[in-house]
Symmetry: C2
Subunit: 427 residues, 2 copies
């Protein structure tokens, strides 16, 4: 990990930006490939999906739809201790997400009434990656908010393993969440199938869930025809720590991000030069003990960085500029600093709240804006599965009172048929 | 207008879908052109914008930034009666949008605490079309919710007229809303400038506002690097009416949509064959009196349609499938039917709430999902200018209690460094 001393820099934010440039992920070849896949699925539907699985994934399956009995069986056979953990995690997620509902409101003045009506999106699709990373936590984090919102139909799609089956833990988590419509397919083809439908798969109105470059590009392309949750880039953790922080804990937390992906970034911002050195050493020591040592090493080499700053305000300035997906405040009284957080996805408070607490268990959502997008995106939520309708009512009396103003406004914009729509009522 | 009798159709929704196919708007040439414009602006910044204005709009301007004094002057010189209307409309919009805030919540159990923190997006950009349609109402509908949300910096960008100036009503509306950062530029170049910045224009985190094909395609392309409000397609109104409805009013309302755009759709769904015929006749008569007769005629020819259905439930079935931007319930007791509305942007209730009431004055937002996108999008709102951060705190005691479950979950997913981040705290 490189240590970058910002204490004598005049424009610290420009140094931070420069140091944290990550490779643009979108490649022209990917774009072209994904476009062709989408056209293929639109034209050949089921056949295209089956062919792609055969060609790319070397798997032949008889049906794109997973049998409901198989989903139930997976649930019944899952490791019982793990099932208890899944259930408790689901309950926690449910509790948190029940707070996230748009308020229905009604401004009723008799002659005039304005209402906001809130309804769930009727049908959504969840993309759940397979391959080396079939994560049941991803099922919980997407399906639970959808259910809390009241979504009627949830279609889950996921690439099968070499045997043409879905990972048992994914099935068990889906069953637990009440998702019983599961399809086999991965990558851009799966996204196209959810967006435009096939013989087997009814199209959805919104697609959520993480995925590789192809999945992300496909989501970008279908966006507008359906809604999507967000476009994710490579992920990151940023730890703010001072001289009292334990370098072992800080290093372990940085590495928990690094094991995800070679492009993941782990960043420490500290007021203590001493801590910076110790964390660097700890990272090197702990790295060797990890099962995903290769990925983590590359991530640390590529995007592992320690910024040393003058004071805690500067630390937050750096953090707000980076707008990290995960922000850990490894500080003694973390709640004293919460007002300084302007841009961050999720904040983990104090030395005993490492990131995995939120990834798996606490109840907040682990789908969080990455790569600085917390400046404008928010974590996935119940709101994402709801939509709002405005309801406007004017009585004849009220329209009589206001008509001249509305007519004036319409005419100022040259939209005379708009003005006429009012005038005709009083002819 | 074509009258389509659905009363003997078995699958009415498939007929509706077929009849309402609108031309796909996205063209390959547009895509390529927009891509080149974005690259140009990224590379040549201000110079690119100035050159494009000279080449495409035949306007040479000295500065991209509108002088603050000019904005103030436009406000001071605006037609006083119109200013009163603008002010009242702004007040109404403010009142409505103040109801739209995410609730900050705090689940504090002492040893465990989960909070949702809500903050405004720091800097947003508003694209306001110019040319033949400089609409001050668009300024109000975008700037007011941003202000209500607490956005600190609002940058407005709009193409200049032939004299290199911004329409005075746009400037006045901007001044009224407290927007004093205004730039000259139109089309895809303006969107690129907001997203990536130039020497004069500081980049924004979110771009809102309507525009032509080029603007829409540019918004699609920058989406992900910044957030956008939504992708709009051609607009529509759908009126549900029965035998008691006044055909004059219905026809006028259909035409108020038709004058917008040749691709706009005006749709009547009625239980009365008699009304269908009368509205058709009225549309033909009223058409001739419109100032935008050419546009409206084409729109009616292209996408004007009357569906006759068996009963009122079928009418709502058709409407929910179309998911109209504007839905008018031209029915005697409209509130009796509101539960039947599943997919619609804004509902206008009863015979005295024609669409312009909401376009200009009532207080709800007139940026509404078009072309069926109300199945997943919502009207523009205060929420669109806010973002949420999750805050998670576990005490040492709480982590001690839960650690084994979290470790089990992490290990099940093969993310051992996640498990280690917990374990190291208890070594």
């Amino acid at each position: 990990m490189n240590i970058v001393d910002l204490r004598n820099e005049k424009n610290i934010l420009s140094v931070v930006k420069e140091k944290l440039q990550r490779h643009g992920n979108k490649l022209n070849e990917v774009e072209k490939l994904v476009e062709n896949i989408i056209i293929d699925v639109k034209e050949n539907k089921d056949k295209a999906l089956l062919r792609m699985m055969k060609d790319f994934d070397k798997v032949e399956v008889e049906s794109l739809k997973v049998d409901k009995e198989d989903i139930k069986k997976a649930y019944e056979n899952v490791d019982k201790d793990f099932l208890e953990v899944l259930k408790e995690s689901k309950d926690n997620i449910e509790k948190y997400h029940k707070n996230q509902k748009y308020s229905h409101f009604d401004m009723d003045e008799g002659r005039k009434r304005l209402t906001q009506k809130v309804t769930p999106i009727e049908r959504v699709g969840l993309y759940i990656p397979g391959g080396k990373s079939p994560y049941p936590s991803t099922v919980l984090m997407n399906a639970v908010p959808a259910k809390v919102a009241g979504v009627k139909e949830i279609a889950l799609i996921t690439p099968p393993n070499k045997e043409g089956k879905v990972n048992e833990n994914i099935l068990a988590a889906a069953y637990l969440c009440g998702v019983d419509e599961i399809y086999l397919s991965g990558g851009a083809g799966a996204i196209a199938a959810l967006a435009y439908g096939t013989e087997t798969i009814k199209p959805v109105y919104k697609i959520c869930g993480p995925g590789n470059l192809f999945v992300a590009e496909a989501k970008r392309k279908v966006y507008g025809d359906v809604d999507i949750d967000m476009l994710a880039g490579p992920s990151e953790v940023l730890v703010i720590a001072d001289e009292k922080s334990d370098p072992k804990f800080v290093a372990a937390d940085l590495l928990s991000q690094a094991e995800h992906d070679e492009n993941a970034a782990c960043i420490l911002v500290t007021t203590s030069e001493d801590l910076a050195g110790k964390v660097k050493e700890e990272v090197n020591n702990q790295l060797k003990e990890l099962s995903k040592v290769d990925i983590a090493t590359k991530s640390v080499e590529n995007y592992g960085i320690i910024f040393v700053v003058d004071n805690i305000d500067e630390a937050f300035e750096v953090s707000n500029e980076i707008a990290p997906e995960h922000l850990e405040l490894s500080l003694e009284e973390p709640f004293d600093y919460i007002d300084k957080v302007q841009n961050a996805g999720t904040v983990f408070m104090g030395e005993y709240t490492p990131e995995p607490v939120g990834d798996y268990f606490a109840g907040s959502n682990h789908t969080i804006p990455t790569s600085g997008k917390a400046k404008f995106y928010s974590p996935l939520s119940t709101y994402d599965f709801l939509k709002r309708t405005s309801i406007v009512y004017y009585s004849k009396e009220e329209l009589t009172k206001q008509k001249d103003k509305i007519i004036k406004f319409a005419n100022k914009e040259g939209l005379t048929a708009h003005a006429k729509a009012i005038e005709r009522r009083f002819e």
